[in-house]
């Protein structure tokens, strides 16, 4: 029953909105008809047409008001007013395209940057990992005094597994494999893991099976392959199971295929998964672990239990486990890894830029509102309500905000790709995909920001009293103090935020400079390195030595190569084969308790090729043959650590697990310390041994054979990148050659993460600086315009150019220094978060802060001096006449 009524009502409403002009016409028509009828009637009564007309109009009781009442009844005035406001806004923005462009650009920059980073943060830090109950997965690693994250040994891992907080734990290690046979050799990332891995993750293979404990213990050559590899090599044929693939020259039987979307969060996409080797040496750290928390157990509780385990291990094995702790991190955070801190820092920077942008836009709008004060005053006088004016201004900012939101979202999608690309140079990132919910939030946020920016002028307009406004507008004298005060606050805030960003960028620039100046201990110029993973064919030490000798000889004969050498511990990878040993003529510390150092098996020319100076003793030479006296060279750090104040030459050491009791190794030389694992890591104890004298020959579990080339070139190293592998393949055509690069490249890559962060932070700081300068400039300019009459009077009364300029500049200087002061306070608190990315400098480095402040102050003065210069050119006669 109600239905009918609504049919009529809705029809009318729709007509009012969509056929607005027709409805208006009908209204006019209806009234005209009435008037005509009335006039006819009055004329019939004997009035003249003119009298009749005025009588008719009188009888209408105010025809315009009545019409307006009828319009009001349509109840769609809100929509109407909005459309009107929109038309007004677009007209007024078209009149001032630069203002519109600057506003949209500013909001877009802030919004685009923030959303781009948020998109990455969302993909990396927030989106849950694709495993069942992924929140219960944790990553486990060892910690040392110097390293927050270190690999651990298999016996240690076995002890970690006993923690009752876990329902399961698995060991893993990332490895690079060369896949040969059935196509060209390709270098693939692989995962060595313990048999528990898939069960801990809560998934199973797509087809086939995972390997078992027995296979792991017996080093069975079995492998699971990735879905992509399965498709590529076997065309997705289930017959792949039981077939053979060749990894680093060894045959592996394919026993299963990993699920299509499988990603191991800590390494990216492994192409193969093979059993990890179980080495019983506690000092040989080569693996990490993941674990699944028991339901209801919190990560902090697990960490407490692990702390207890670590303490017991330290006590039981004081040498191998000295200072070693265990750290459990949510797998999600661990997967974000190194990129977590940079991302959060960059996100704060982006938010700062957005806030600064908002402040700038707010300032612009205020300035514009003040400039249009006379217009508003006039319109108020003509009957426009305060609310109406405010809503018009808000609509204007809403139009700008919408434009900025649309452009900003587009640039966020584009920018997140760009950013991800920049970060991916160094950090392992998951797939970055735009999240539409996030973009929706961003859109809303931009709108809110835009509206907030438009609020102060709207409020001012709503508050302003006609009289004052008209008076001010006509006189052009000093305007409301409150607006000006608010604008000052905005600019001071901008300056403060910008200062924090500048200080942060400054700290990072200095860290990077310091890192690049650190004494490496070797000469990286003209050095090419490459890794040669050795297959089981070279398991026999003599055969291996002969093979490597052949490679060195053929490479040494290559024109342009000065010195060819090889060793087993490639630099700057953060790896390092640690071995346990004990000293001659010292109390036997007992089994499992020896000294620990990084062992590097090297060829004779190694020190020359690397450019590492020998400090004492002699270099290895042709006399150090396999059957000769075992010799070693140690680095200065080790000599200092083990034989402080003694001569290390002639001292002897022995590997703890050596089954040969007489295998003592004599120290014949001391090499200079090298920052071997990264510019930011202090040198550790290192032992160099001639590879011919394989020191592992009588170990029960020797490390996997490996060789890394070091080639010092006379020519440009880049010109040899094709010739080197070709030469190696003349010796063995199946020999994989990996990571062929110049050492300078490797060094530069080791700093790439810092460099990317610095670049992005500097970029944000630069945008912020530009905005802040524009803010200072705009405010001082406005102030000059506002004070033109006053400055004119001063000039007329004899104030000199300098005095007037100083007057103006002082205002800018005051704002800048106030902002800087707040910025310093904020910076001292906030730059702490940078600590992880800094090197050799404290986050509150006073020099950096002072320098940044001085620089910023200078820039602020320059920004203020441009309007000041304009102020000095004020002609008193002109400005006073305007009064």
């Amino acid at each position: 029953m109600i239905g009918w009524r609504w049919v009529y009502r809705v029809r009318l409403r729709l007509r009012s909105v969509f056929l607005r002009e027709q409805v208006e016409r009908e209204l006019d028509e209806e009234f005209r008809f009435h008037l005509e009828q009335r006039i006819e009637q009055e004329i019939a009564r004997g009035l003249t047409p003119a009298q009749a007309r005025s009588a008719a109009l009188r009888a209408m009781d105010g025809i315009l008001q009545k019409k307006e009442e009828c319009r009001d009844l349509r109840r769609v005035n809100l929509v109407d007013a909005l459309l009107q406001d929109l038309r007004y806004a677009s007209r007024s923005l078209r009149q001032n395209p630069i203002f519109a462009a600057v506003t949209v650009l500013t909001l877009t920059l802030g919004m685009g940057a923030t959303m781009a980073i948020l998109t990455i943060v969302n993909s990396v830090l927030l989106r849950p990992l694709p495993f069942p109950a992924a929140g219960r997965l944790v990553a486990l690693s060892a910690t040392t005094e110097t390293r927050p994250k270190d690999s651990t040994s298999f016996p240690d891992f076995h002890d970690w597994q006993q923690a009752r907080s876990f329902s399961g734990a698995a060991a893993w290690r990332r490895d690079q494999f060369t896949l040969t046979g059935g196509g060209p050799p390709e270098s693939v990332t692989g995962l060595r893991a313990s048999y528990e891995l898939l069960r801990v993750l809560g998934i199973g293979p797509a087809i086939g099976r995972s390997f078992e404990q027995r296979e792991q213990q017996h080093k069975s050559p079995v492998a699971l392959i990735s879905h992509a590899l399965w498709m590529r090599r076997f065309g997705g044929d289930a017959g792949a199971l039981g077939q053979t693939i060749v990894l680093n020259g060894d045959d592996y039987a394919v026993i299963g295929v990993l699920p299509r979307d499988f990603r191991f969060p800590l390494t990216g996409d492994p192409a193969v998964l093979v059993p990890i080797t179980e080495s019983p040496d506690r000092s040989r750290g080569y693996l990490f672990a993941i674990a699944r928390l028991q339901p209801g157990v919190r990560i902090a509780a697990a960490q407490r239990e692990l702390d207890g385990i670590a303490a017991r291990l330290q006590q039981a094995f004081p040498y191998s486990n000295r200072g070693r702790g265990i750290r459990a991190v949510a797998l999600q955070d661990a997967a974000a890894g190194d990129v977590r801190v940079p991302l959060l820092i960059l996100m704060s920077a982006a938010v700062f830029v957005m806030l600064i942008g908002c402040a700038n836009v707010g300032n612009l709008m205020l300035a514009r509102g003040i400039a249009r004060r006379s217009e508003f005053a006039l319109r108020t006088a003509l009957g426009a309500g305060a609310a109406r004016l405010a809503s018009q201004l808000l609509t204007e900012s809403a139009v700008l905000a919408t434009a900025a939101a649309l452009v900003g979202s587009a640039s966020a999608v584009w920018g997140s790709g760009l950013l991800a690309g920049a970060l991916a140079q160094r950090f392992a990132l998951p797939v970055i995909t735009p999240d539409w919910r996030l973009l929706a939030i961003g859109l809303t946020l931009t709108m809110v920001c835009g509206l907030l920016c438009g609020l102060p002028p709207a409020l001012t307009a709503a508050r302003s009293r006609i009289g004052d406004a008209l008076r001010e507008a006509t006189r052009g004298a000093s305007s409301g103090r409150t607006d000006h005060g608010f604008r000052n606050v905005l600019v001071v805030g901008e300056v403060a935020l910008t200062f924090v960003l500048l200080a942060g960028a400054g700290l990072m620039i200095k860290s990077l400079a310091r890192l690049e100046q650190t004494e490496l201990g070797l000469d990286p110029r003209h050095v090419v390195t490459a890794d040669l993973p050795l297959s089981k064919r070279y398991a026999d030490p003599q055969r291996r030595a002969a093979f490597l000798r052949q490679i060195l000889d053929s490479l040494g004969a290559l024109p342009g190569i000065d010195q060819a050498a090889l060793h087993t511990d490639p630099p700057f990878l953060g790896g390092g084969a640690r071995e346990t040993f004990h000293l001659e003529n010292r109390a036997d510390p007992g089994p499992q308790q020896g000294h620990v150092a990084a062992f590097d098996l090297v060829s004779d020319g190694y020190f020359r090729a690397m450019g590492i100076p020998l400090l004492r003793g002699r270099n290895f030479d042709q006399g150090d043959i396999a059957t000769g006296v075992p010799v070693a060279i140690v680095n200065a750090a080790m000599a200092q650590q083990l034989w402080p104040g003694e001569d290390p030459l002639g001292k002897r050491i022995r590997l703890y697990y050596d089954r040969d009791p007489g295998h003592w190794i004599s120290i014949v030389g001391v090499a200079a310390d090298v920052r071997y694992y990264g510019r930011d890591l202090d040198p550790v104890a290192q032992v160099f041994i001639p590879y011919r004298q394989d020191p592992y020959r009588s170990l029960p579990y020797p490390p996997a054979p490996f060789a890394s080339l070091v080639l010092r070139t006379a020519a440009d190293p880049a010109s040899l990148t094709a010739a080197i592998p070709a030469k190696i393949w003349t010796v063995d055509s199946d020999q994989p050659v990996q990571h062929l690069q110049t050492m300078e490249q490797a060094l530069s890559d080791s700093l790439a993460g810092r460099r990317v962060c610095l670049l992005l932070l500097s970029y944000f700081a630069a945008i912020a600086l530009a905005m802040a300068v524009a803010g200072i400039y705009g405010l001082v300019s406005y102030s000059v315009a506002r004070r033109t009459p006053e400055l004119g009077i001063r000039a007329a009364l004899g104030a000199g150019t300098w005095q007037i300029a100083a007057l103006v500049v002082r205002e800018g200087a005051l704002l800048t220094s106030l902002g800087i002061a707040i910025g310093v306070a904020g910076g001292l608190l906030l730059t702490r978060v940078l600590a992880a990315l800094l090197y050799g400098i404290t986050p509150t480095d006073p020099v950096t802060f002072v320098e940044t402040a001085a620089f910023f102050f200078g820039v602020g003065l320059i920004a203020a001096s441009i309007p000041a210069q304009r102020a000095t050119r004020i002609d008193p006669a002109v400005s006073l006449r305007r009064e």
């Binding site: 029953m1 109600i2 009918w4 009524r5 609504w6 049919v7 009529y8 009502r9 009318l12 009908e26 028509e29 209806e30 009234f31 008809f33 009435h34 009828q37 009335r38 008719a56 009888a59 209408m60 009781d61 105010g62 025809i63 008001q65 009545k66 019409k67 009442e69 009828c70 009844l73 349509r74 109840r75």
Partner: protein
């Protein structure tokens, strides 16, 4: 909305509904009819009629269409809708009750 002061709130609606219940009329004719039937007692300014009619239309009680008058002009004719007829019955009943009550009060004998 301004209303003639001597009309009790809501009675104008009732009058208009009643007049339109008899036959569809344009606004001018409604004003003439109002004057005619009330014997000039109920004075509604020409102008005030329109907001009142438009309000009834917005409420869905009357609807309008453009038709040709007897002397060949286009005019907007209002007619009662079905909900409007029910509203009229309701309003009329209310009026009866109200006016009856008021009449009874007014006729009370003073002591």
């Amino acid at each position: 909305m301004s209303k003639p002061s001597d009309l009790v709130q809501g009675t104008l609606d009732l009058l208009l509904l009643k007049i339109l219940a008899l036959e569809p009329l344009h606004a001018w004719a409604v004003s003439q009819r109002l004057k005619q039937v009330s014997g000039d007692v109920l004075q509604v300014s020409d102008g005030s009629l329109y907001p009142a009619l438009h309000k009834l239309e917005q409420e869905g009680w009357i609807t309008s269409e453009w038709k040709v008058t007897e002397n060949g002009r286009q005019a907007k004719f209002y007619r009662l809708t079905r909900p409007g007829r029910r509203a009229l019955e309701r309003e009329a009943a209310n009026w009866e009750r109200l006016s009856g009550a008021i009449t009874r009060v007014v006729r009370l004998n003073e002591v």
